[in-house]
């Protein structure tokens, strides 16, 4: 059984150690449950006024995602996030991982106060940079209301920003990321790469049995990336592969989840793989686990629980939060003849975000080795693990405030 690790400010303490699960088989499911959870955590402490759902639009099957239109913001939905991760290297093969995330969480669809400062949405952002040579991990967060334009997400063209951090689409169709905090930061250009991978059913990711309890979700899985990063005031010209997730929706998840593990992997044989599992407070996996596999040919397959096994292999205990994270995983997709070992490129890639999302989680660059049938495969990617420290996701869902 998986228990939360104490140390966070908000979570009740449950015991000092983490007991790892035996590998569990996924139940067959077509539903996809991605990192929306993290965003769900964001809204939990906002006033849950009765009838808020009426003010926000629900995700519907008849909505057709179009690009580049749908890269832009959808303020009529309550939650929206843009998630960029990637593995980079400079000319001397010094390796880095980066993460830049923008969240928009609706508070009041139509504030009664005409002031520009009235909080319609809260905007949050996380920036992280893994210096894989030194093993150092840098991260920062932002939290703002729109105010006079300090943060926002435009609806016409794709641009989302939080203070000086921004992501958007240039006229050349490239994604441009810029963010800096003190003496570390990124300034990157990402080509769209392969066509958007729509998760769930044509991008509609069903969340629950009720209609509308769903989100719109797609990824750009293999984005050729170049640009500059800055660490400790030192600049590096870098290149590599990036990954973008964009999701928006209004309705949220059940109360029993305490966390999840999520993988975004780019293999050298041309396969891209998104996988996740949701852990429940009773120690079982939620019925909403699985992922999507994109073949080099462009063909994509939705994966259900029975298609994948995920087995934690090695753990690392964070000296900051005390949480113990599985930093090595064995993944097996028997139907696809894939056996992969996913290892953190460095152990310490833990983000602590007391201001913005108020969660502590691990998100970092990973190295992939393994086989496809008899052929060896390798790759790189990103891994996200939540619910191992700090505030319990279940608490977040229950009442929100942690009080």
């Amino acid at each position: 059984m998986l228990r939360r690790v104490p140390g966070g400010r908000f979570g009740p303490s449950c015991g000092p150690d983490v007991e790892l699960r035996r590998p569990v088989k996924f139940r067959a499911s077509r539903r996809s449950r991605p990192r929306l959870l993290l965003a769900a955590a964001l809204i939990a402490c906002l006033p849950a006024g009765a009838g808020w759902a009426q003010n926000w639009r629900q995700a519907r099957p008849d909505y057709r995602l179009q690009f580049p239109r749908d890269h832009a913001s959808h303020p009529e939905y309550r939650i929206e996030w843009w998630y960029y991760t990637g593995n980079l290297a400079d000319s001397s093969s010094r390796r880095f991982g980066f993460q830049l995330t923008f969240f928009r969480v609706g508070v009041r669809a139509r504030p009664e106060n005409p002031s520009r400062w009235a909080v319609r949405d809260l905007f949050m952002a996380h920036l992280a940079l893994s210096d894989l040579e030194t093993g150092r991990f840098h991260f920062a967060e932002r939290l703002n209301r729109a105010g006079p334009g300090w943060a926002g997400a435009s609806t016409k063209t794709y641009r989302v920003w939080n203070e000086s951090w921004e992501a958007g689409l240039g006229s050349d169709g490239r994604h441009r990321l810029r963010a800096r905090d003190g003496d570390f930061g990124i300034d990157l250009e990402l080509e769209p790469g392969r066509r958007p991978l729509l998760h769930g059913q044509a991008g509609l990711s069903q969340k629950g049995s009720r209609e509308g309890n769903a989100s719109h979700y797609y990824s750009l899985t293999r984005m050729p990336t170049r640009g500059r990063i800055r660490i400790d005031g030192q600049e590096f010209e870098v290149g590599g592969l990036g990954w973008m997730d964009h999701e928006f929706g209004t309705s949220f998840l059940g109360p029993e989840q305490i966390g999840w593990d999520w993988f975004a992997l780019q293999l050298d044989n041309g396969q891209d793989l998104m996988l996740f599992q949701i852990r429940r407070s009773d120690g079982r996996l939620a019925p909403y686990s699985g992922g999507t596999l994109l073949e080099a040919s462009g063909q994509s397959y939705a994966l259900g629980g029975s298609d994948v096994t995920m087995e934690p292999a090695r753990t690392w205990q964070s000296p900051h939060s005390g949480a113990r994270y599985p930093i090595q995983w064995r993944l097996s997709l028997p139907g696809r003849k894939l056996r992969l070992t996913v290892t953190a490129a460095q152990p310490d890639q833990e983000l602590r975000t007391p201001r913005s999302t108020q969660v502590t989680y691990w998100e970092g660059a990973v190295v992939v080795t393994g086989t496809r049938g008899a052929d060896p495969v390798a790759g790189r990617g990103y891994l996200e693990m939540t619910g191992y420290a700090g505030r319990s996701m279940a608490d977040v869902f229950r009442g929100g405030s942690g009080e």
Binding site: L46, P111, N113, W117, R145, W150, S356
Partner: protein, 874 residues
């Protein structure tokens, strides 16, 4: 003393000085308890008044500055607009400030809260974006008190996010029995709003400011509540620790876009200090009159002590006492009395401070800033002030008689010249000092102020005071002569004797007469000044307040109030069919060269058509104002012109939202509403540079022949019920202006009365001494057949005569002083012209009163004199 010891043998005691002091001074003080008591009381009152005024002054400045510091928190610098904040979009021009540190935009306002108990208190409202502001100020909510950390910003935001949410201090909530969830009624401008208390702040950080009358709101809610949508008041900046504040201030100042300024938060405190400087300085100067009179009393007492003991002094010298010892003894007497007086004064001062604060408080509230509720507490600084100033000054005052005593030759005692010299002799001091001092006074009066403080004006006053003091014996001499002629012919023998007694003791009485004359001259001067001022204001009000009705928000409490009228109220009044014209006046505080000034705008057209200003310059003021319409020109008040040295035709630079702009001074007008100065623009010019702002007041002109009272009632009835608006008719506003005026000078009168009381105390002690000194004479008189009643009458007449001479001199000197007050000190400290006006009736009344009071002060000495048994031994 060593040199003298060689020349004279030592007295037979091992500690001669202590012994002498005990026998020579203490025994005497014990015998003359009453006189000693009066002296101590006089000094005590003087010190107490000085301390009380100082403490009251400190309270107002300090309470503002502490509140400023507490609310500023970790703010290192602030970006301010050209007055009344800035448009919020300007924040986008300030992105680059992130390199220096964090920024937090702030809305700051005031509202008057009404509590269920019926009590009301002013609240300072701070509206912030808590997501940014939590690192600037230390907020601890009671709800989260069990955690030794401030609540997480998002949790805090949730608490504040509802538009009616307000967070109060626990201190205030306890005072008024409020809890989270309680309703709170606030009057803001002309509106009344209901809010909900969402949380309570523990007593730390900004919550400690202003005795807990601090309230926190979300910036959006504060904008809406205070009617400042689209605007912020300033941007607080918290520098990164590695950046020096001086460097940052310079770098930011160089880069700020037009219309914005960077400053330290303390600048607002200094601005207030500067604004109150003249007011405080004048109060301080007034308070010193009582001290001065107290010192006269010391001088008087020691002089009398010397005079009445010349014989003993002579004997002391004859048996080997040194000159220094003699002087030292009298100085020690002064020191002892002063020390007792200072100690008592400190206690009394702490008590009087509360009263002084109450008296100055209403003036401060009306004219400057919301004042402190509590005086600063008595600190070591005040003790030092009392003793370090009181005792040396007392010793200085006693030095002259003490030195005189030391010059008594041993032979004098032996030869029987043991009585005071009673014959009047015109000394060089009396001959030369009055003209020299008067010349000095004239010279000082012509000099300019020192940085807005009329130091030379006060020096001129001091010169006149001393001239009067030295003139007293001469006046007494001649009035005695005149008196002897009058009394001989028309009055009874008692008056004749009284006059003769006074003429015969001029050196003794002149000191107390001088003290009384000086304090009376000050009272006279101040009375004349206030009377003239009042006449001037009354004339100004008559001439310039022409509108039929004046409309202002009910919360507008002073000229610097930033309360505005809501558009709905303005619309309802301007569209009323009975209203012929409306002149909306708009104003806000600006910083002009480090000083606060009022920038206003009115409709010059309406004003010229229907009202009037009194112009100081140019002669054709009206046409100059007409020419200013539509031009980059301003009309400035006299106080502004004087303070900043501006004349018609000069250009002055104002910081506008569009950047710094030069405006020509079209005219200077008389204004008595603000001593900091007013700069007025025509509405069109104002709108061009500053945009549309809601007005702070309306001058309403009615159609011909309507009864303003009735229209006032109609207007009030037509306003929405939740409106909180004052509508004054012309007559009621004029009354109100004069009421405020009179209120302002209460403290002045209070200080004066104390000074006069101390002086009258001096007269009484002098009389007692005179009587003791004349014991043999009085006994002889009784022996010669004078009745007790006659002796009493004589002494009372003596007292009355002293009063009459003092008042006569006082009035004459007072008129001179009032000229300096009106034409030098007032102009230099407040910058306004006062038409001189002699309130003859009042002077006559006060003279009679003084005569009566001094005569009454003779009652106790009279009874003592009456009790003397008849005797032949003269």
């Amino acid at each position: 003393m060593k040199g003298d010891e060689a020349a004279f043998p030592r007295p037979p005691q091992s500690r001669p000085f202590v012994f002498l002091f005990r026998t020579f001074i203490l025994r005497r003080i014990r015998e003359e308890k009453l006189r000693a008591l009066a002296t101590v009381l006089g000094v005590a009152l003087g010190i107490a008044v000085v301390l009380a005024v100082r403490m009251a002054n400190q309270s107002s400045v300090r309470s503002f500055e502490t509140a400023l510091q507490m609310v500023a928190g970790k703010t290192s610098l602030e970006i301010v607009g050209p007055g009344s904040g800035m448009r919020e979009e300007r924040l986008l021009e300030l992105d680059w400030l992130g390199r220096f540190g964090q920024i937090s935009p702030v809305i700051e306002g005031e509202a008057r809260a009404s509590f269920p108990s019926g009590e009301r208190e002013w609240l300072k409202i701070l509206g912030v974006d808590i997501l940014r502001d939590e690192t600037f100020r230390d907020y601890r909510l009671v709800r989260f008190a069990d955690r030794q950390e401030p609540p997480a910003p998002r949790k805090f935001l949730e608490l504040l996010s509802d538009p009616g949410a307000i967070v109060l201090t626990q201190k205030l909530a306890r005072r008024h029995n409020l809890d989270p969830g309680s309703g709170l009624v606030l009057d803001i401008g002309d509106r009344r709003e209901a809010l909900t208390v969402r949380g309570l702040l523990l007593d730390r950080g900004p919550a400690r400011a202003l005795n807990g009358t601090f309230a926190l709101m979300d910036i959006a809610a504060a904008q809406w509540l205070l009617g400042r949508l689209g605007r912020i008041d300033r941007v607080d900046l918290r520098l990164k620790p590695e950046i020096s504040i001086d460097r940052a201030e310079a770098a930011i100042g160089a880069r700020l876009p037009e219309g914005l300024t960077v400053q330290r938060p303390s600048r607002r405190g200094r601005q207030v200090e500067k604004m109150l400087e003249a007011f405080h300085f004048n109060l301080t100067a007034l308070s010193h009159i009582a001290l001065l009179v107290g010192l006269f009393l010391i001088y008087n007492t020691v002089s009398l002590s010397v005079i009445t003991r010349r014989r003993e002094v002579g004997i002391l010298r004859a048996v080997g006492g040194s000159r220094r010892q003699v002087a030292g003894l009298f100085l020690a007497e002064a020191g002892l009395l002063a020390a007792l007086g200072c100690a008592l004064g400190v206690l009394l001062g702490g008590w009087l401070a509360r009263g002084a604060l109450r008296l100055t408080g209403s003036t401060l509230d009306r004219l400057y800033i919301r004042s402190a509720a509590e005086p600063v507490s008595l600190g070591p600084e005040h003790l030092v002030l009392a003793f370090a100033v009181g005792i040396p000054l007392a010793l200085l005052a006693a030095l002259v008689p003490a030195l005189e005593a030391s010059r008594v030759a041993p032979t004098e005692a032996v030869s029987g010249a043991d009585r005071i010299e009673s014959r009047f002799r015109l000394s060089w001091r009396q001959r030369w000092l009055p003209p020299i001092l008067s010349t000095l006074a004239v010279g000082f009066a012509c000099l300019d102020s020192v940085d807005g403080v009329p130091l030379f004006g006060y020096a001129a006053c001091l010169a006149i005071v001393f001239a009067v003091a030295f003139l007293v014996p001469v006046v007494l001499h001649f009035s005695g002569r005149a008196g002897s002629r009058l009394t001989g012919r028309w009055t009874g023998v008692e008056a004749l004797l009284a006059n003769a007694n006074l003429s015969g003791s001029i050196p003794r009485t002149s000191i107390s007469v001088a003290a009384l004359a000086v304090s009376l001259s000050m009272v006279t001067a101040i009375t004349i000044m206030i009377g003239s001022f009042r006449e001037t204001v009354q004339y100004w009000v008559e001439q310039t307040l022409r509108a039929d009705l004046f409309v202002a928000p009910a919360t507008r409490s002073n000229v610097y109030s930033e309360s505005t009228l809501s558009p709905e109220v303005v619309r309802l009044i301007s569209t009323n069919p009975r209203v012929a014209a409306v002149d909306p006046f708009n104003s806000f505080n600006i910083d002009y060269r480090g000083r606060r000034a009022l920038l206003g705008s009115g409709d010059f057209e309406v004003h010229l058509d229907r009202s009037d200003l009194l112009f100081k310059a140019p002669r054709q003021g009206r046409s100059a104002v007409r020419a200013a319409i539509g031009a980059d020109a301003v009309v400035v008040s006299e106080s502004f012109a004087l303070r900043h040295g501006k004349e018609v035709g000069d250009r002055l630079e104002l910081n506008t939202p569009l950047g710094r702009r030069a405006f020509e001074v079209a005219a200077v007008y008389y204004d008595y509403s603000s001593d900091q100065g007013v700069v007025v623009l025509d509405r069109s010019t104002f709108r061009k540079y500053y945009g549309d702002r809601p007005p702070r007041s309306l001058a309403v002109y009615l159609e011909e022949g309507l009864d303003p009272e009735r229209v006032r009632a109609e207007i009030l009835a037509a306003l929405p019920p939740e409106s909180r608006v004052f509508v004054h008719t012309n007559a009621s506003l004029k009354t109100e202006v004069l009421r405020i005026f009179d209120n302002t000078f209460t403290i002045t009168y209070a200080l004066e009365i104390i000074a006069v009381a101390v002086a009258i105390l001096g007269v009484a002690t002098t009389l007692v001494t005179l009587i003791l000194d004349r014991k043999p004479e009085l006994a002889l008189l009784r022996w010669a057949g004078a009745e007790q009643r006659q002796i009493r009458k004589m002494v009372i007449i003596e007292a009355g005569l002293l009063g009459a001479v003092s008042q006569g001199l006082g009035v004459m000197a007072g008129i001179l002083l009032s000229l300096i007050l009106v034409f030098v000190i007032n102009v230099q400290s407040f910058g306004w012209t006062i038409q001189f006006h002699l309130p003859a009736g009042f002077l006559l009344q006060s003279s009679l009163l003084i005569l009566l009071a001094t005569a009454l002060s003779g009652i106790y000495p009279a009874f003592r004199a009456g009790r003397m048994p008849p005797s032949r031994e003269a």
